[in-house]
Amino acid sequence: MRFAFFVVLFYNLTRTFLRYDPVNPGNPGWLIVDGNDAHLIDPLALDPERSYEKYVLDMLGKMVLAEEAQYGAVSGLRLFGRWDVSVCRHKATGKYQYFVNEVTRSWDTCLFHHHSDPEGMGDFLLSHLAKLLHHCVTTEFLRSRPRL
């Protein structure tokens, strides 16, 4: 009984207060999940097909292949890039989906680096990038032929 009560309460709360959809109130919306709660609420474990990370990494893989096929040179996205992603509604299905608004791969990427990330990954990023660039320079990676 108590379980059923909490189920109904949670269902109503999430339906009523956490919905975000300025266009169509009947459509299930989106919710901001704080990084601190990620260990408690991890939708990746339930629905990895719809996760943000999967979308970005799928697009990255396709983009590397497309660039290298078109230009015949190794894509710089293999090394580094900043992907700006937002949400839009699919025209045919009416469901929300991610879309890439911009891919930045030059000095513009530092525009948001001054923001201190709470997970402290900035230092790891820089150290990994430094090692990666050193490897690329010593092996002339960007001059090599693209390969899978």
Binding site: F3, F6, V7, F10, T14, Y20, P22, V23, P28, W30, L31, I32, V33, D34, G35, L40, I41, L46, D47, V56, L57, D58, M59, K62, M63, A66, E67, Q70, Y71, G76, R78, L79, F80, R82, D84, V85, S86, V87, C88, R89, K91, Y96, Q97, Y98, F99, V100, E102, T104, R105, D108, L111, H115, D117, P118, E119, M121, G122, L125, H128, L132
Partner: protein, 164 residues
Amino acid sequence: MLFVGQKLETYNLLNKCALSLGYQQPSVFAVPEDELELYASDIADGKRDAVLKRTQSGWSDYVVTPHTKNPKSVIKKALKEQRQWKSSNHWFDEPLWLCQPFMAQLLHIGEYRSFIVNGAIYYTVATTPLPGPEGSMEMAGGRMHRPLDAYRCVSLFLLSFSTT
């Protein structure tokens, strides 16, 4: 090889990639310089629900949206600067103006900017535009938008453990 600021080529590739994965991507096309003012006035009058943006630019510079004040003067000023582009011996090609649909979600939800090194997402910064001068935005780290139905499933899943 792609050079810095070549947005149209990047958008074309992104479009192909999104279609191959079953997603949709906003369509982008180039606008000739002599039609830019017409497009800008159409956007200001609400006849065209679109955004004009320029290649070789960043931080919301050279962007005309339906909320831009005096879009024609913005275009005129940008074109005046652009005519000095060749004479000043720039390294890059002359910039190109692009038109894409106005995405309200970019204003309401904002963008997630993921830094990817060697195929791994290191961290993501969520930015949302703020009212005020153009380019001002709120930044937050470690936040992610998730489909609400997924959250609902997880909450019920956790609850079933906590009550038994």
